[in-house]
Structures are given as C-alpha cells and as structure tokens.
Symmetry: C2
C-alpha cells in the first residue's frame, strides 16, 4: 500500500486501523470524523471513536491530512495534496477539488498583500453543473 510508506515517513506505526482510515479518507475524498468512525466500524467493530479523533488530529499535525470547513457541515478531512480549490455543491452536497486557478490566486494575493503565503483554504459554494439543470 502507498500509505504504508506515508506512515513510516512520519514515524507512525503501520496499524491496520491507520491504513483503513487513510484509505477510507482517500476513497471518500472529504469526510468528517463521525462518518469515518461509522465506516471504520464495519471493518473494525471494536474501534474506538477516540482512536479516530487521535489519529486524525495526529495526521493533521504531521500534514498527512488537511482539513476544510464547508459552511454548515462538520470539519472535513482529506488526504493532503497540492493546494487546490474546493467546490461544494449546496444541492447534492458533493465537494469537488479543482487544481486550476489556485496558483494564480496565491501569486496575486502575495504580491497584492505583501504576505509570504504557505497555506490556502479555499471553499467555494454554489450549484454544480448537474444540479443546475435538475
């Protein structure tokens, strides 16, 4: 598994729970702690909610995970990757990643403000193409 290496790189022990957690986050794209717990319980009936919280926070600190806040939803975790834009549809609830536009934004914002940026959290809300026509 690819995540085995991710964990080793951060000197975290490779446990079945951690691998499943990462795989599920990757599969879901964006997911909150509760939903994650519910899903993991299917493979690990004895898993503790505290374990999910602990791991998720830990991996967030180690930058294995990122977190975004979509209005009116709980914090959503995702696998950390290159900075990107989150498009959240208010109708169907989907959250889409978009890699375009973000570099231009960061660049313009830096030169405009004089900030030296190292992190972005961009969440745009609206209706996705299919929900517009529906």
């Amino acid at each position: 598994m690819e995540f085995t290496q991710t964990l080793r790189d951060q000197e975290l022990k490779v446990t079945p729970q951690r691998l499943a957690l990462l795989e599920e986050i990757e599969h879901a794209g964006h997911i909150d702690v509760d939903a994650l717990y519910a899903i993991l319980k299917m493979s690990f009936p004895a898993i503790s909610l505290a374990t999910v919280y602990k791991n998720v926070s830990q991996m967030y600190e180690l930058k294995i995970l990122e977190v975004i806040k979509v209005p009116d939803r709980k914090l959503q975790y995702e696998i950390a990757k290159a900075p990107h834009i989150h498009l959240a549809c208010d109708q169907c609830g989907n959250v889409l990643d978009m890699n375009k536009c973000i570099d231009e934004l960061m660049f313009s914002a830096e030169s405009e403000s004089g900030f030296k940026l190292n992190h972005s959290a961009v969440v745009l809300n609206g209706l996705c193409p299919s929900c517009q026509s529906a």
Copy 2:
C-alpha cells in the same frame, strides 16, 4: 447606530446586547464566541453565553454575520460584507481582509468548473509583511 437598522431589517428586536455584540464584532474584525462573550461580560456582567451563541447563529442564518475557519483556531465571526479574501498571519495572529483578487477568482472558478457560485470562503495563511522583517 447603523446596526439598529440592520436588526430592524431582519425583524430582530433591537436590544442593547445585540447592538453591543455587533459593534464588538465590527471592532474586532474577526472574533470567536468565547472572546466575544468575555468582552461583552464587561458591559453586561449578567450576559449568558447561550445568548451569545444564540444571537451569533441567528445572525449567521440571517446573513448579518459570516464565519471563517482559520486553521487551529475556533470559528471566527465577522460582519457580513462583500466577498473577500482573509489573510491570516501565523506569527502575530492577525486576520486581514483583502478585497482584490476575489472577483477574478470567483469568475475563473465558475467558468472553469461550470459551478454557479454564491459563496466564498478563502483563508490564506502565511507571514504578514511586518512579521517577515521581524
């Protein structure tokens, strides 16, 4: 007061607590519930934390307030205004509003993704100019 009208427009009764709450949020720029409560207690020693929560949520639903999530901080409330970018300095903790760049971003993101956008939450982190030189 300008906020008197804001409240009337939304058919909320104009109470001293509400006016103070709005004025304090405006004055702070961005503030979380706890800090807000602590400050309001100075003018209203008997104010209830539940009142702060209630009003803040209520005004958020009525779009009088907006909320942003800066990494590792509690939810920050601000007076709703035109969409803008939040620049958060990791050193001094300040959150700055920037009105440039956001329109271009929304426009590009819409045409790129096909979404019809109606809301943005952009938080960029880094070092502000003065913290860079310090």
